[in-house]
Amino acid sequence: MAQLNMVQAINQALAEEMARDQRVVLLGEDIGRDGGVFRVTEGLFGRFGAERVIDTPLSESAIVGAAVGMAACGLRPVAEIQFMGFTYSGFEQLVAHAARLRTRSRGRFGCPLVLRTPYGGGIKAPELHEESTEALFCQSPGLKVVVPSGPYTAKGLLLSALRDPDPVLFLEPTRLYRMLREEVPEGEYTVELGRARVARAGTQVTVLAWGSMLERVLKAVANYDAEVIDLLTLNPFDAETVLASVAKTGRVVIVHEAAKTAGFGAELAATIAEEAILHLRGPVLRVAAPDVPVPLARLMDHYLPSIEQVKAALDEVLRY
């Protein structure tokens, strides 16, 4: 089994699925000859041709909108938006159309598209290149929101997303693209959408994280008896796994790099309060970014949740 980074794992998933299913086509900016700004689609243009790896004009709304039409008309489009901050141009197409097409047509037209986009901070890139606004998209029933945390889950989740009959926003944690290497099986395997993963077993405190923060959380909990849950899918999220862990530990820390207010952590905390409050020994704590626009590189260390902040939150809940 090969040790792959996340870029390679995603590339492999795309290549294998394109070979298996003629309906899969890719579209986006610079994804063809150039292989994508992060080289995620490297080699696919040469292998599958311009008809299936489509270099589009600089046109985010039309990329997402065209993917909606393609999906309804029998293809399995995979749209790439270069950075999450540029999905805002395609937001209407995603939220007002992709997420609703099945409902609006009362099941006549499905919308099996995948929108891949790198997200998250810590890569020293210009403005709007390091956004983490996943919660915006989780308020859109009909749209699945998936966030892998490493190469293995990236490939398995992407294969599931590519075969899902409904639209999936697939957020790739940019900071981890080449940081982590894992054993990634060649060929067929999937990681189920809507299922969380216990990334580390423990008994004293439950830590909920996803995507880019998982790597940091696993470092932070090294000397704690903490159970770390990697959500993997935010919408629909796996409440069952979360609540089972909370019932066991009675303590919760939620870590996300999005701004705190109305971040996805709020949904998790509210669900725990509704369904598991009698298991709690102390407050549910959130470690999140402050409620400010994502800063550029020089302030990024003050913005992203740090290992120390996670440890401080663990220490606090463990006092109860």
Binding site: V25, E51, R52, I54, T56, P57, S59, S61, A62, V64, G65, A66, A67, V68, G69, M70, A71, A72, C73, G74, L75, P77, S89, E92, Q93, A96, H97, L101, R102, T103, R104, S105, R106, G107, R108, F109, G110, P141, G142, D164, P165, D166, G194, N235, P236, A239, E240
Partner: protein
């Protein structure tokens, strides 16, 4: 170095049938007598449906409704050039297109009462749901045309929108992409000259909307949108061109919204009765009747008969619609996803 002219462009306008019902024999699209009468009846059906829908809204039996009156030639003429295999992306004011393609009148009424079951397009048609977000259907139509081309499907795509849509970003993004990839799509703009209260000159400083296509590298043509022959001919030619692989066309149907924007609007607040009266004289049905009369295919009694037949069809649809059971609560959930998430599944059961 002296300046030079790099390119110069012309914008064609096609007009075949004038207000008096005189047609240019060179340009007539060659429809048989039966086809002409079918065209006429389809326009009368569109008008009748519209009148009934407005009346039903006034009686509280229909929700807010956007009338199509005045745009029957643009809608019926273009739809008649389409085949059921083609893909159609409507805005929200295309009931004449739907009816001409055979979309059940009962479902149209159902939708405008607020029952979304009316949006489930019958399996033999490829009509997208009504699109209320102006212009956002345009990139989707472009995507569908990508898919048809990729699948070597002989169909083409027609996307409908109004003059207001040409001010939106999705109009630009969609037409630009269609031009780059020479896609089999026809952009049909019903320029009814009013986007709610904003007249055409408030949307654009351009002399025509048709000329916008030049910037995307394909042909734009203006047709007299109240001339059903011109609309039909231009659409048929554009569809043939699309199917032959020669790329997209933009058709500006210059017409007029004779009624209010919707039943919640009062157009008298922003436009003059003289202007409306001028366009009433250009009524697309009136001029077709004059033409048919000149051909010996129509007498006054035929109008009453056509209206009566259309009225019976619409009245039957109204009765059918009003007899339908109200949608159940589960209806909100049952088609939203191929399989519901656990929370939605609980909510569906009332938890």
């Amino acid at each position: 170095m002296p300046e030079e002219i790099l390119a110069s462009f012309q914008v064609r306008r096609l007009s075949i049938l004038d207000e008096q019902g005189h047609a240019d024999p060179e340009l007539l699209p060659g429809l048989s007598d039966d086809e002409l009468l079918r065209l006429y009846r389809a326009m009368v059906l569109a008008r009748t449906f519209d009148e009934r829908a407005v009346a039903l809204q006034r009686e509280g039996r229909l929700g807010t409704y956007p009338p199509i009156m005045g745009q029957e030639a643009a809608q019926v003429g273009s739809a008649l050039a389409l085949t059921p295999a083609d893909w159609v992306f409507p805005s929200f004011r295309e009931m004449g297109v739907h009816l001409t393609l055979g979309y059940p009148a009962v479902q149209l009424l159902q939708y405008w009462t607020g029952d979304e079951r009316g949006q489930k397009t019958p399996e033999n048609l490829n009509i997208f749901p009504f699109c209320v977000a102006v212009a956002s259907q345009i990139p989707q139509a472009v995507g569908a045309s990508f898919a048809l081309k990729y699948r070597r499907d002989p169909g083409a795509v027609a996307v409908y929108f109004g003059d207001g849509a040409t001010s939106k970003g999705d109009f630009h993004e969609g037409l630009n992409m269609a031009g780059v990839f020479r896609l089999p799509v026809v952009f049909i703009c019903q320029n009814n000259q009013w986007a709610i209260s904003v007249p055409l000159k408030g949307q654009t400083a351009a002399q025509t909307l048709a000329q916008k296509a030049i910037g995307y590298g394909f042909e734009g043509i203006q047709v007299d949108g109240n001339d059903v022959f011109a609309v039909y001919r231009a659409t048929r030619e554009a569809l043939e061109k699309a199917r032959s692989g020669a790329g997209p066309t933009f058709i500006e149907c210059l017409t007029y919204r004779m009624a209010d924007h919707t039943t919640a609007d009062d157009a008298a607040r922003y436009r003059s009765p003289e202007e409306v009266a001028l366009w009433r004289r250009r009524d697309p049905i009136l001029r077709l009747e004059r033409y048919l009369a000149g051909r010996g295919l129509w007498v006054e009694a035929d109008a009453a008969q056509a209206r009566e037949a259309a009225g019976e069809l619409v009245d039957a649809a109204v009765r059918e619609m009003e007899a339908l059971p109200a949608p159940a609560k589960e209806e909100m959930f049952d088609t939203m996803l191929a399989s519901l998430g656990p929370r939605q599944a609980g909510q569906r059961k009332g938890r």
